[in-house]
Amino acid sequence: MTAKLVAEFLDGEALKAAPQRVHTAGHAALEAFGPYPIEGLAEQLAQGRSAIRGVMLAGGLGTAAFAFALLWYSAVIDYPINSGGRPLNSWQVFLLVPFEVGVFAAALAGVIAFLWSCRLPRLHDAMFEIPGFERATQDRYFLLAASDGDPNELRTVLRDAGAVAVTELRTP
């Protein structure tokens, strides 16, 4: 059975050093929490690259292509107006609207991909049950670690890494 422990640290440096020690001791560091983005933590926790940028590119280009097709269809096929002898397919000016809506669509796609990949919005999370976890968004740092063996051994490792409190995470 896997035991999950949450360790609370006073500063980001201690948190940053902790995953390494947990790994060396043969346990798994699953996730870290803190009030600001700590550089290098995501790499240590092997959280892989996200697909957000790819989604944004696809969303932006797709929407821009759709917008251009709409402009072209409406101005060339469905409602052709000869305005001062200008060509019906004046594609140069048809690029402006697709650019604007394309950038917005890329941003929107990015936000949706971000929420999706972080499983937000969520109404509740087991972490919120940890005493003092409300300070993770203010001035405390937390590490979630798992052990397949003796949880007390992991507890000692976390204590040695500088944790001021170690709590067991109960997942339903």
Partner: protein, 455 residues
């Protein structure tokens, strides 16, 4: 007011003047005033802005009822205050996102202290700007005709029209700015959720924080998203104000159809926007006692940017004059002559004083460091930029190709209303903003404080 972050002289760090700015103190300094209330001054300020809000609504209602004839526009000068306002407000609106995105991409750490409220400034200014073309339409009930939708008239929008480009540019930009602002607000909303003593606050901030936990996965995804949005935001901002410039440049009028207009409008937008950020930064710094986070150095770097932009503006004006002469077109030369000697010449000279001359004070370091000099300079720039916008409209339209049609614009009460009341409305929105959400990005300042302490 908060006195947890004590500024020091000389400043302890480059961008944070307090000797110790820990996570707890930064959080406390920014978040706690929102729970305890801002006291009498805030209420007084809100009370002062309320009549302006009412005034704006009355003016819009009267305009919708009566039509645009209530303004000083006439059959020659068909554009007026609404269009100048539109360009001016969208200029201010451009700066917030431009500043925030550009400083993020160029890794200017000091943006941490100003990005949040600069982005809020953008939102409100763009919203006000978006109102202006609609009130100017004459038949605002048909504003939705700008959108392509299946209709029984079998009509489509005219995609070659600058007005249609405007519609899409503003709409996309407003929604983009909202997302850009909200994304970087999520972690701070979570802080507010976890810190507020009130149940209602926990529910509201909690709902908008969407269950943010501050995990490293969330942080790294948020950073990926935010920097990518910033990279998209810079060209978007430039395109939006370029399209505003094209409203003029895509015409056939002397003084308007100039290829310099798009970049010249973008620089003008950044110029007036930065000037507005300086004013708002000073107000927030004083109102929330954040002298430790918004330091004199912040004002100094912003002053340098203002100085640079003023030089580029002067260069743009000079290019306009030169091209007016060099192009050899009689009408173009006449417009330049009319600018300097015609009906609106005093305003034109005032514009040059505000935008080109007065900002030269910022060459001196003491002027950049003194708020007593910098704030009046920033206000002068904003006045100068508004004059520039209105004069672009007036000079060309009042002095077109046909001398028999030359007429001047005369301000009416309703022109003044649309000039002054939106300023009060903007102040009102801004006051509500500082009261409800942290006006400084707490997580950015925490990160900055850690970097400063390590440096």
């Amino acid at each position: 007011m908060s006195e947890v972050l004590v500024p020091q002289h000389p400043p302890a760090h480059r961008w944070i003047s307090a000797a110790r700015a820990g996570d707890a103190t930064v959080t406390q300094a920014v978040a706690d005033p929102l729970f305890t209330g801002f006291g009498k001054i805030w209420w007084l300020a809100l009370l002062i802005t309320l009549p302006f809000v009412l005034w704006l609504f009355v003016a819009i209602a009267w305009l919708f009822y009566q039509g645009i004839g209530i303004w000083g526009i006439n059959s020659t000068v068909v554009w007026g205050v609404a269009i100048a306002n539109y360009v001016w407000w969208i200029g201010i609106g451009n700066a917030g996102t431009l500043i925030s995105a550009m400083l993020l991409l160029t890794r200017q750490r000091w943006r941490a202290s100003i990005n949040r409220f600069a982005e809020a400034m953008t939102l409100f200014a763009v919203a006000i700007a978006g109102l202006m073309p609609i009130v100017h339409l004459g038949r605002p009930i048909y504003a939705y005709w700008l959108a392509p939708y299946p209709n029984t008239m079998a009509l489509w929008p005219q995609w070659r029209s600058a007005l249609v480009w405007d519609f899409w540019a503003i709409l996309s930009y407003l929604l983009f700015s909202l997302l850009f602002w909200y994304v970087s607000l999520i972690p701070d909303l979570a802080t507010m959720r976890d810190r507020t003593p009130h149940r209602a606050g926990q529910l509201l901030y909690g709902a908008f924080a969407m269950g943010w936990r501050g995990s490293s996965r969330e942080w790294s995804r948020l950073q990926t998203l935010h920097t990518t949005m910033a990279a998209l935001g810079v060209p978007l901002v430039c395109s939006v104000h370029s399209i505003v410039g094209l409203d003029f440049a895509a015409s056939l009028m002397a003084g308007w159809q100039e290829s310099i207009f798009p970049p010249y409008f973008v620089v003008g937008a950044m110029y007036s926007g930065f000037a507005m950020v300086v004013v708002l930064a000073a107000a927030i710094r004083w109102g929330l006692s954040l002298q430790a986070i918004i330091t004199h150095r912040h004002f100094e770097v912003m002053a340098r940017i203002l100085l640079m932009a003023s030089i580029v503006m002067f260069y743009s004006y000079a290019t306009e004059w030169f091209m007016g002469w060099y192009g050899g077109e009689h009408a173009d030369r006449e417009v330049v002559r009319f600018e300097f000697t015609g009906t609106y010449a005093p305003l034109y000279w005032a514009l040059l004083a505000c935008n080109c001359l007065i900002p030269q004070l910022l060459w001196w370091p003491f002027a950049r460091r003194s708020l007593f000099i910098l704030i009046p300079v920033a206000i002068a720039i904003n006045i100068g930029m508004w004059l520039e916008r209105i004069l672009i409209v007036w000079n060309t339209l009042s002095h077109g190709y046909m001398p028999s049609l030359w007429r001047a614009f005369h301000f009416t009460f309703w022109d003044w209303s649309f000039l002054v009341a939106p300023l009060g409305f903007f102040a009102f929105l801004f006051l509500v903003f500082v009261r409800l959400v942290p006006s400084i990005s707490m997580f950015d300042v925490r990160e900055l404080a850690h970097q400063e302490a390590a440096a």
